[in-house]
Amino acid sequence: MPVSCRMCGKSAILKRPKTGDALCKECFFFAFESEINYTITSGKLFNRGDRVAVGASGGKDSTVLAYILKLLNERHDYGIELILLSVDEGITGYRDDSLETVKRNQYQYDLPLTIVSYEELYGWTMDAIVKQIGLKNNCTFCGVFRRQALDRGALLVKANKIATGHNADDIAETVLMNVLRGDIARLRRCTAITTGADGALPRCKPFKYTYEKEIVMYAYFKKLDYFSTECIYSPNAYRGHARSYLKDLERIRPSAIIDIIHSGESLSIKKDVKMPTQGVCSRCNYISSHSVCKACTLLEGLNKGLPKLGIGKTHKSRRLLDAAEKAGDSVKTETENSSTSSSTMKKEDLTF
């Protein structure tokens, strides 16, 4: 017995994760695209003449984002110019494949692509960083560096705006994370649809109210080509807890994701709570709440060869570095070494 589409009455082939309604493929596309157009227009994300860099990782969010921005730009005549911007972190076996996907997207969607690498920008690949600091804090490095890499890359291609594929699940998760971490400044910022304070260029999130499941569904039925980007360096445990809590919440009440974003939007912070003042990094001019930005601080640590191991032990870390550079198949011992260094590091982490 075929179920009929809630919107047009033809036979339905899917149940919308967001509303639970049975829809046919065409109506789902229509609803999905209309909602994103609504977000873009109501949130005034773009102005005519904008040059928008789309952060493209080859993953589902950014692939669907590139596709739909191009589609909506043509359909509703936003009058914007789109550029794909990829960051090559230098993670063997991770970016190699996903960059291939991005390159294919470039032809499929007929959008110009620029790739900026960590090596060009910072002189370090993620693989090299992980060899030095171990797996424990690498997501911090990766996140901080990627943030700036997008900005620097966007400036390079003369874009005046960045669009990222952060979806509703990501934002809800970030709200929870910031509560669990007690990061009040980020808690206030994380639900903004466009953020200007974080980087050199304004960034917007057209998928702010879009469920991750619906993005997958859209890509599936549109047969969009994406690469499943599970970072091979495992995400930190705490975020993992928040994510699985969110998934469980969604199972109990599917609207929980949007409900959390609503909560985040309606929080107000006491006037007497001190907020970090935004300044500019004295080394790289990137917007920062400290005199030296986090990327530059991390970079300095890396370049000085594990300052966290303490002075006097530099030769030890040098050996570690050398070994790391030569590293062929001795990955196991490497990891052991680096995990000891990262535990030593923890104490000094406080100085950041």
């Binding site: 229509f30 909602e35 109501s42 199972r251 609207s255 949007i258 409900d259 609503h262 909560s263 006491k270």
Partner: protein, 470 residues
């Protein structure tokens, strides 16, 4: 091995841990890992409890304060602390006049009558021991019309208690009303919210009726940290601050105090253990249901799990909550939620979670000519009109027959006066006519006023003046 909040066993004591305050052998480890002897631990606990009051100056001398007693660990510790404090003159500068009330919620639980009776017996033991004026009421009373008095049983007057204690003399029609509402609520999450809200409403009514101006509620820090997360998850972000602060002043006449918020659940269990206090086991509606059945149960599990692995979890969440505020003071009184008295938080901004939700719903409701969708926000769109089989919003599919009897009130009518979180809750109530009269009467009153206003609209000079100085 983690020592936080674990009563040391004999072998540890022999190993020579000594109290951080005096040099006696330690028997207790408090939250920061500091070992205490029994006397110093009790001293620390009492001092902290007293300091919570001192800091806020929320209670005036001679004020009548009603202790909301539930029989749980934290509640027992609270009652004990108040009693000890007054007896030993701990509150030298502060002399308030305590009373204590227990609200029987057993109607929500399917329990053998014998178990219920045994619980009530233990509760009565606690109430009598307190030597304060003590009262018992039951949750069904919250279904009484707002202009009539709720029934409160005085435990302190023996004749009344002897006769009626075990059946509490509930009006059968209230019982029936409550059961109807309960059965009409389709999810455990909404049931938990409803239970909480009705309990708070009833506590406030009892206080006002008995002349109390403050209610003392015994939520522990652990409970409040959990509440912060459940609030966020249920779209109640704007009430986080009121829900976790020491003073909750949403009601102008009776405010709620939370003096146990500085203690986590382990510390409280330790205090009870050291004082030999036996709490009463009163099951709650999700006790048997399992962690994936309601947002509260899931969140409790989540917080406890994190707390075990990261002992600063609870205090970090509380610190975050501490930095939030509600915009209640700045707000117009007529713009608070009819059910929970929080600020109405439905954002009118075009780009917000609530407008995005409205848009999705409109998109799918508009089945006839969906291709003509424009972004205009019709005034009839509202969260509660979401076309879901579980809602009662006039789908005409036969599922809301009961509503036809009362065409005056569909969930759309109620929802416009509610905050985002309460709208979510109401969505799971299949038949809105089963809501407590206090809610329904107020909705109808507001609707009448709006009708009046419309009629005289052209003659009103000031747009902002709604003539409602309620």
């Amino acid at each position: 091995m983690k020592l936080t909040g674990i009563v040391l066993d004999a072998s540890h004591t022999k190993m020579g841990k000594s109290c951080v305050k005096c040099s006696e052998a330690a028997t207790v480890v408090a939250r920061l890992g500091d070992p205490f002897c029994r006397a110093c631990f009790l001293e620390y606990f009492t001092h902290k409890f007293r300091a919570t009051f001192g800091k806020s100056k929320a209670v005036r001398n001679g004020e009548k304060v009603l202790i909301a007693f539930s029989g749980g660990q934290s509640s027992c510790a609270m009652l004990h602390l108040v009693k000890e404090g007054l007896q030993n003159g701990v509150h030298k500068k502060l002399r308030y006049i305590p009373g204590v009330v227990f609200i029987d919620e057993s109607i929500c639980m399917e329990q053998p009558q014998n178990d219920k009776n045994a619980q009530l017996e233990s509760i009565r033991g606690w109430l009598e021991d307190s030597s304060f004026p003590a009262y018992i009421s039951s949750l069904e009373e919250a279904m009484k019309a707002s202009d009539s008095e709720v029934r409160i049983l005085s435990v302190s007057s023996p004749e009344e208690v002897e006769v009626d204690f075990k059946n509490l003399k509930i009006d059968p029609s209230l019982n029936e009303k409550f059961i109807k509402l309960w059965h009409s609520t389709s999810t455990l999450t909404a049931k938990e919210d409803l239970l909480h809200i009705l309990r708070v409403q009833l506590l406030k009514r009892i206080s006002k009726q008995l002349g109390y101006t403050k209610i003392m509620s015994g939520e522990s820090g652990t409970r409040l940290a959990t509440r912060i997360l459940t609030d966020l998850s249920k779209g109640r972000g704007s009430s986080v601050s009121q829900d976790m602060s020491f003073v909750d002043g949403r009601d102008k006449d009776v405010s709620i105090l939370r003096p146990m918020r500085e203690f986590n659940s382990k510390e409280i269990a330790m205090y009870n253990h050291q004082c030999g206090l036996q709490h009463v086991f009163v099951p709650n509606i999700s006790t048997k249901a399992g962690q994936f059945t309601s947002i509260n149960a899931l969140t409790e599990e989540f917080v406890n799990g994190l707390q075990t692995n990261f002992p600063s979890t609870v205090s970090t969440i509380l610190k975050t909550g501490e930095k939030l505020t509600s915009q209640q003071d700045a707000a117009n009184t007529s713009s608070v939620c009819l059910i929970c008295q929080s600020l109405l938080d439905m954002s009118e901004l075009p780009c917000s979670a609530s407008s995005a939700t409205r848009y999705s719903q409109k998109l799918q409701k508009d089945d006839t000519n969906s291709m003509h969708m424009a972004c205009n926000e019709a005034k009839d769109t509202c969260v509660a009109s979401k076309p879901e089989t579980s809602s009662c919003c006039g789908q005409g599919d036969g599922s809301c027959q009961s509503l036809k009897k009362n065409p005056e009130l569909v969930s759309d009518d109620v929802s416009v006066y509610l905050c985002y979180g309460c709208r979510l809750m109401i969505k799971d109530v299949t038949d809105c006519s089963t809501l407590p009269p206090s809610v329904i009467d107020e909705v109808q009153r507001q609707k009448r006023r709006e009708g009046m206003r419309e009629e005289i609209q052209d003659f009103l000079l000031n747009d902002d003046d709604d003539g409602d100085d309620r």
